[in-house]
Amino acid sequence: MSGDVDAFILSLTVEDKPGVMERISRIFARRSINIDSITVGRISPGISRIILSFKTELDEAKFVSSLLRKMFLVKSVDRLDPDNSVTRELAIVKFKTPDREAKLQVLKVLDEMGARILYTELSYIIAELTGSPSRIDEVLSKLSPYAFEFARSGIAAINL
């Protein structure tokens, strides 16, 4: 064991059948690898793409990939190289705006970051943020005093 832990993103195409998520996730669970993010969407009739991100050692990541590759419902497994792929995440966030000053501050940052305002109330704003996961982390940290409820989509990614 080298002990060096790296971040990995795998892009899988799978048959869209009940239980496919359980088959895939247990490969990670058995080896105590925490899945940081998992996104699934249908890409053609009967076929879904799953994007998985997790951290582990290189040998373990290769082993896990080969286990996934031999599963009957898994059609392909590709490792996405962060330097050679586009990675995006979507977050929907509620920001509290107790007063006018707070509201202006939140709107200013959101505007700078190119967020879309989806809904406003007197006491809060719902906004949509899209970007690389680190970009979203950055916005959320800047507005941490105001953000009070989030939903993050997990990573969608594609090779260059």
Binding site: G19, E22, R26, F63, S66, K70, F72
Partner: protein, 565 residues
Amino acid sequence: MKMKGTEIVVESLKRHKVDVMFGLPGGAIMPVYDVLYDTPEIKHILGRHEQGVAHMADGYARASGKPGVLMVTSGPGATNTITGIATAYMDSSPLVSFAGQVPTHLIGKDAFQETDVFSLMIPITKMNFLPKKTEELPATIKLAFEIATKGRPGPVHIDLPRDVQLGEVSSVFYPTEDLYNYSLPEPSLERIRQAAEMLLSAQYPVILAGGGVIISGASTELAALAEFLWAPIVTTLMGKGCIPADHPLYLGHVGMHGLKSANYAIQEADLVLAVGTRFSDRTTGKVSEFAPKARIIHVEIDESEIGKIIKPQLALLGDAKRVLSRLLEVLQKLSKKGRKNAWSERMNQLKQLDSFDIDWDATPIRPERVVKEISDLLKKDDIVTTEVGQCQMFATLYIKTYKPRRFITSGGLGTMGFGLPAAIGAKAASPDSVVVDVAGDGSYIMTCNSLPVSVEHRLPIVVAILDNRYLGMVRQWQELFMDKRYSHVYLGERTDLTTVAEGFGARGIVVTRPTEIREALQEAFKSDTSTVIDFMVEREANVFPMVPAGAALTEFVEMKKTRGE
């Protein structure tokens, strides 16, 4: 013509040439059994416990090379098969397993005898299915047979909800084309050439042959390759039988209880050609000190096994038979004939290490003597199955196996209770062979409830119990590594194993003296009913050679003298 799901299931079995199946009916699978009532062409062997049913199907598969078929009911029926199916999965044995399930509208609602079998089977099968519609059955069953047998074999499970069994379809289409799109991997000629050059330049090449050689049917190719290179062959536990025991290049099996010659050969090798093995910890010993001087070529059909434990210098991803035959072809082109390499003399020296210093005539009987006499009486087509523990290792050491699929043991999972039902399955596959289960008294008790199956179905087997009244292997570890603190391993004196056997309709023989062994075995071998021979053996006999868990392959435990040694 209208057809019910139940009829489709049975018709599919016939189309897959299933002539023997193993099962135990219950509520949720009764509709299929109603059709089996009218299907004399499939011989159904009725088990007494579903674990035994699964081991029987597994024993049948291992002896015949064909997929073993089993059928049980939902809930406890299915959960009882889990040990058996996990055993088959670990040892890459092809099974097609069916379990009834409650009607689809009750799945997930805690109905009577409902368990989430679909999820339970995922980690212990190559694939499993839960068809929700009757029309899915023909393709699902065909797919199950294909997946179980193609590439690296393994068990496939199908849950059959009661309403899917009872549903009717107006026209049935049985697919004939391949449904599982599996393409056999094949190494490039470049890689084969590279392997050939590595083999030719090695001074001390060793071939490590695993269960994959047997599954692939590559024994002839393996022997030819070894003879060309004049390289010694060692086997894993699962590889036993892939090369005849009397082949001059065969040293024996390697690992925790491997022969000294075999373990030394691996440690002294400068090249290991590993074929169809997953480098189990029981084979490698301490991984970082496994074959320390050797470059490794790994011939393997399952990509996920390459580099999992041992990183090879060269991997040849493909079927053992095909890869070895291509490799030999290239070798023959590169070099006119194999040369006697540096091994020849050393091999003879190594073989000297394997003399066993045992008092064969001791009373109480030495377990080694029992196993050796079994081996001496067996013919090459006869079959040995084993339970797990000391008896298994005595069998591995002292049974001479000459053909593939004639030594059947639970290697990966180490399932006590495997041997007796597996012997029944093997007997069903090879009715003309004598089938002997080399058992311990601890293992025997676990699945002796399958014994009546062999009696009632006239599948006579011989159970040779090395009776030491201990969970012997645990006791051995406690003796060697835990200061003889025999914690909960003594089984007591009051159980009479032969009376139990006779209660099941088998014959029981008690043997206490070494001179009685042969006659008891001869009688049992020619008997037309199952025979259980209770050999009262030296209670604290240990299995040697032995390498402690986690030690390098040549760090043998010194043999301590017990009575008779």
